[in-house]
Subunit: 493 residues, 2 copies
Amino acid sequence: MQFELDRGSREPLYRQLATSVQQRIRSGALPPRTRLPTVRQLAQQLGVTRLTVHSAYAELQAGGWIEATVGRGTFVAERIEQLVLPPEAQLSGDVTPAGVMADLLRMSQLPGLLTLGRADPAPEHFPLRNWQRATELALAAGGGSLMIYTTAQGDLQLRATLAELVRERGFSAGPDEVMVTAGVTNGMSLAVTLLAPPGSTVLVEQPTYLGMLNILAARGVRVVGLPMDGEGLVIDALEEALRQERVAFLYTIPTFQNPSGVCMSVARRAALLELAERHKLTIVEDDIYGRLAYEGAATPALKADDRSGVVIYLSSFSKSLMPGLRMGYLVAAPALIKQLVPLRQAQDICSPLLTQRALSVFIEQGWLHSHIRRMVPRYRERRDALLRAMERHFPIGVTWTRPRGGFSCWVTLPAGFAETELYVSAISRGVAFAPGQVFSGGAPSGAHMRLCFGAEPPERLSDAIVTLGALLRERGTHRDLPTPALGDYVPVV
Amino acid sequence: MQFELDRGSREPLYRQLATSVQQRIRSGALPPRTRLPTVRQLAQQLGVTRLTVHSAYAELQAGGWIEATVGRGTFVAERIEQLVLPPEAQLSGDVTPAGVMADLLRMSQLPGLLTLGRADPAPEHFPLRNWQRATELALAAGGGSLMIYTTAQGDLQLRATLAELVRERGFSAGPDEVMVTAGVTNGMSLAVTLLAPPGSTVLVEQPTYLGMLNILAARGVRVVGLPMDGEGLVIDALEEALRQERVAFLYTIPTFQNPSGVCMSVARRAALLELAERHKLTIVEDDIYGRLAYEGAATPALKADDRSGVVIYLSSFSKSLMPGLRMGYLVAAPALIKQLVPLRQAQDICSPLLTQRALSVFIEQGWLHSHIRRMVPRYRERRDALLRAMERHFPIGVTWTRPRGGFSCWVTLPAGFAETELYVSAISRGVAFAPGQVFSGGAPSGAHMRLCFGAEPPERLSDAIVTLGALLRERGTHRDLPTPALGDYVPVV
């Protein structure tokens, strides 16, 4: 068996090998039940490490292309016919926040797919060398003591570093007001567990982050979606909702919202805080995109003007650094932290101490800031490429937001479009996006797509838009312009 | 300011420095509000890296010895008087599973304390170099693609490795029956969330692991403790409990139980499975100590004889490798895994992919097995040192178990001893153990101590027992022998 590898390419060798094997299977050159060479044989033949072959085989096995039988060897999968079918056959068919989230997580392992589906950063620019240096520095100082348990609140050295870091978002905190979490999702999950018992009501922006809807659904919490416009959450609608019912909290992403891309205006923030104070409404602020601003500095966090302590501030390093770290944090009053800590202790005890210490070193060395400085122009370029391509290739009647930060662009389709059908068709043509309905805290109105531009370079974003544009045109060019209904999101072009 | 460091010592430099500063504070040489040198100054003066000084300062700050004020410098803490008092002043006073767990996690940062309180492995023997090699090998093959998200069920390569690994515990599984968890605690937490709604009943062994009691209390689940004897869980008592009420599941640690150290006999295991099958009782098996057997091979897991799929198998690498990895796994029917995966997704999305892949490499390279082979004789030596010291230094009337694996020894005190008072007094003399009541799923009967021997070398274990023996004798030598009540644990000497 002969496979060509290009050692000059930026694509890792194992992935080239996986793609190459997959193409042979697709073309029929390697029919079902064909025995593949052993890892050792193939590594020797190609002059690569065994781990490279092992990784390629693991990826192919994950995708269902090959099967390994202990003591017998590795074979092209029997039921490969299913995989040679378009990739939409691999969708779960469950178009809920949980289902789409799981499908998009799984599909990140499909080679070749244009992934505008997930709000991921650019993996080819991850600062892996500095991360390894930070880990080595931490280990050199701490040794084995960094591989035992730590407290559920998190390592004090990291908390002190984070307390400094949030000053750049406009507020100050002590290490006792900081809690380390396993990503921002974990912060949300802990806040929901503490504040929103099953059957209670949580207010969200409409649309909002599907991960939060997933958490609320899993807990049996009622969700009420509040309308947004180009300045963010509509405050009158919030006031109306607060008059009508008791709510556990409001969840908001004021800065570069996911999925809409909207940044809440300064006036709205002030009105929101004033209202929250008056109604003793707890606000859970998700500031995960707050450091990814493409047009000047970002508006300070809502927490910056929180005089009465109603805001629980959540953030993480999944967008500004690397999601695989699974490192986030929250800032809240010490009394609230004291109630959150036992919940984390009962969930998984603590985050890995070595990762916490390495992250602290990484930030203290200035490597977080240099990474963000390097990435902001690249992400701006990607956003611009996406916007340009949409202007060029999307039919009239389709509208979208123009995000000034973050990774998400919210596209509104003319009335009559079926976004789920479009979602499945797009995947069958190699483009993944997230359908609008999974971001909806109530009955969704209108058809939408969330297009993310962080994880793909400009050329690939353009390719994806060409494909999506063709799909949209095939479905008819003479639709009505969308009429934003009450409770729907009003697009800002 | 002059601090002596011993470069020939096995103790890390930062810790030597921290201890040295602390001694100066204790002695009054550095009074409250004294300004300390900057990190840069002290590093230069001592000829160490800035990170070493930074780590020492962080540890001192964590313990409350020093305080840093931004822009002003680092100072000896104002309220240092409290710290110069015996360390029992730092206990939370909350003698519940959650409170003691938090206290013991925090006290691991107190230098000098003899820590028999937590079931930790030996940090000075952690295979850090091989772990770093495994991480580098994984990164070399996977690159940036290992720093994005993966599925909540876990990396397929690791799941395939784990499916192989469990064969050594007597059963086989496919990768689709394996789910990666953030330690065994996370597996428990997910199982409780799925199977035990608030207000339901869970059966546990009496005594049982405090972490599980902590999880059940946090969720508002009723706990019924079942008696054990030298062969493990008493089956008649289980049958009686099943007749009396509907239970969500039974939680058991059949192999080298924490805290009792007992290993369930083969006959009991068979009877337990037969009963569970008949009553359709779900069993959550915690096999975290199954690979740490000091007298021949361990009994195979309960799961090995589970013909009808009633057992959910949990394990982790926190005891056999390093708890700081926060890596565990569960094995269950695919239908059950499908229900657990969305819960993990709603909690923190996934475990770090790089750690998963590195762990897979680590195991595939044989480094897990070589580490365990190296550690088993050391842990046996520690256990023997503990048992010998207790025989020599504990007064008549005190009894204990003789564990054939794991890290826990369960000590029963004569009637009339107050274990909480003893717990506080022992900490004030520099010895931490866990008081028996926090392992009790009902009203505790009798006074107990859990003594763990994994994390301290033989000499230090002996020192701790000398101190505890003196404390026991001070409290009276002529007590009655304990009379095991129904529902209490019968000690096996």
